[in-house]
């Protein structure tokens, strides 16, 4: 697989098309937060986790917990790109009988690592995985992708306090900071700012990047490999609905599927990006 930045960008946009098709077929789901997330997952899975069908359940694998479970179409799309999910299965998302649940369920499909979707819980589970790696002196990394809305949860702050205390420098959190949640813009609903200052005060190693600049994502994740006694937190500034002009809005496309005309228009825009 070509892992140059232009090739990864093209892959990410192809996966955006997968996400639109999946959500249209399902008739429900979360396009805004899936499209904001896909560039991050593309870099992490293809360049760092290097997920394959063969290593998907290897005890020593790098792990990624998608704490913002509603972004799971992006996770399924990237796992399909890695060969873990047959591409033709993506279209079964959210259908009864499918292993592709509407939010991640490791009991239905183990490669999603954990069950999430009740917000604010994923970082604790990722922390536990990182603690297990430390205990066993294993080199695997644990990634956790959070949403900005769920960072309002009390449990998230429990883990944000705890992981630095346990010196989990094998834990890399990436915040898909798309600035929107169901009821409105995040800074109006419950402001997180100044977020970087808060996290630095909690003793995290903090970086802030443009979450749609694949080279910047790559550089930040590369830097976060450092084992310096601090867990790593990458604030990735993103745009909800990124890549589809009419979906780029903080709230409107949080939780509704595109109809046939919208799907056609979205795919036309995304295909233009491929050429």
């Amino acid at each position: 697989m070509d892992l140059t930045i232009p090739a990864l960008q093209r892959s990410a946009n192809e996966m955006r098309i997968d996400i639109i098709r999946m959500l249209h077929a399902a008739g429900s789901g979360h396009p805004g937060g899936s499209l904001s997330l896909i560039d991050i997952l593309t870099v992490v899975f293809l360049r760092y986790i290097k997920r394959t069908k063969e290593n998907a359940l290897d005890p020593d694998r790098h792990r990624l917990v998608l704490s913002k479970g509603h972004g799971v179409p992006a996770l399924y799309a990237v796992l399909a790109r890695c060969g873990v999910i047959p591409h033709e299965d993506l279209i079964t998302l959210r259908q009864v009988g499918s292993y592709l649940q509407g939010h991640p369920h490791n009991g239905s499909f183990a490669p999603v690592e954990a069950s999430t979707g009740s917000l604010g819980q994923g970082l604790s589970m990722a922390q536990g995985m990182a603690m297990a790696a430390k205990l066993d002196k294993k080199p695997y990394k644990v990634y956790c992708v959070m949403g900005d809305g769920e960072t309002q949860e009390g449990q998230a702050w429990e883990a944000l306090l705890s992981a630095p205390h346990h010196k989990l420098d094998n834990l890399i959190v990436i915040l898909d900071y798309n600035k929107g949640q169901i009821d409105g813009p995040t800074n109006e609903i419950l402001n997180l700012e100044p977020l970087g200052d808060k996290l630095r005060a909690f003793n995290w190693d903090v970086q802030e990047i443009d979450g749609h600049d694949l080279a910047a994502i790559d550089a930040a994740v590369a830097r976060a490999q450092a084992e310096n006694g601090q867990p790593h937190f990458i604030i990735a500034n993103t745009i909800k609905g990124k890549g589809v002009s009419f979906m780029e809005h903080p709230t409107e496309w949080h939780g509704k599927a595109p109809n046939a005309a919208e799907t056609e228009a979205a795919i036309k825009e995304l295909e233009a990006l491929l050429n």
Partner: protein
């Protein structure tokens, strides 16, 4: 000699540390009370003090279990099971092989009062389809249950007492997971009891013999999965069913037995347990107040059977 099941747990956990390298223990600033302190002292690298963060403790333990460890997480039952939605997602639905150890269950914790008492924990945990629930009634049974759970590949809840419990079993006792434990035979009625009040139920039944009542007493240590066949058999053979527990009568053992009998063997029942919030007092005074002492159980059973 009366011994709290939390003490039995703490002793057995240290023993298992030697034979179970994957065993890890978490506590949320209550290790002296839950008795996980002994494991912490002997195996500090496998003990995780999480501070007063029950939500995060549940999630971190789930993550460890999903990475191949066998966590026991300890706190007062109401504090840990009270964070039920995290247990539901991160342990239950994630199929994480974690044992939740809830100590200080029931009104028998005494003077601290209701805020520290778990009276609804069984009811909550019973709703999770894959949750094993064990409540031992004496020292031997508690140690056997801890040994069993160390090898059990399933989410589990172990409910333990603060107060000392009299021995019910001899050295030859064999803990059989998922099987009811017949303590006393009888033909007029059956008492199903669990945990710290089993002894009182047994003594009440013995004393009712002199009033012409022959009462069977069954210790239910495994509440989920319940030994439903034996419950039905006892109901058929005796025709009257009583449940006794230091827990709400809604959703606990009484609820579990009623659900089984309602579908398979409709039988008149009396559920003895908690029907209101707890309060402060000595454990002894509280059992008298709420009718969970020997006399209280005796009085309620006699009234039910003669009424």
């Amino acid at each position: 000699m009366a011994k709290a099941t939390r003490v039995s747990f703490g002793e057995e956990l240290v023993e298992l540390g030697a034979t179970h390298p994957e065993l890890v223990v978490f506590d949320a600033d209550l290790s002296k009370s839950t008795q996980s302190q002994h494991f912490a002292a002997k195996y500090p690298e496998r003990f995780f003090e999480m501070g007063i963060q029950e939500h995060n403790m549940i999630g971190a333990a789930a993550g460890m279990a999903l990475s191949g460890k066998k966590p026991f997480i300890c706190s007062f039952s109401t504090f840990v099971v009270g964070r039920f939605e995290v247990i539901r997602m991160s342990i239950g639905y994630s199929e994480a092989n974690v044992t939740v150890v809830g100590t200080h269950c029931g009104v028998a914790i005494g003077e601290d009062g209701y805020s520290q008492m778990a009276l609804e924990d069984i009811a909550l945990m019973r709703t999770l389809p894959n949750m094993t629930i064990i409540q031992p009634a004496d020292d031997r049974e508690a140690k056997a249950a801890v040994r069993f759970l160390a090898d059990h590949q399933n989410p589990a809840f172990l409910r333990l007492t603060r107060q000392g419990l009299e021995d019910l079993h001899g050295d030859d006792y064999e803990f059989r997971f998922g099987k009811a434990d017949l303590l006393r035979d009888g033909s007029d009625a059956v008492i199903f009891a669990t945990g710290g009040v089993v002894y009182n139920a047994l003594k009440a039944a013995e004393e009712l013999e002199s009033e012409g009542l022959s009462i069977r007493v069954v210790n239910i240590h495994t509440i989920a999965p319940l030994d439903a066949d034996f419950v039905v058999q006892c109901a058929k053979e005796t025709g009257r069913v009583i449940t006794v527990e230091d827990h709400s009568i809604v959703g606990g053992l009484g609820g579990a037995v009623a659900e089984v009998l309602g579908e398979r063997q409709p039988t008149l029942m009396k559920r003895i347990g908690m029907t209101e919030y707890g309060r402060s007092g000595t454990p002894e005074d509280l059992y008298v107040h709420f009718g969970l002492d020997r006399e209280g159980v005796k009085r309620q059973v006699a009234a039910f059977l003669k009424g």
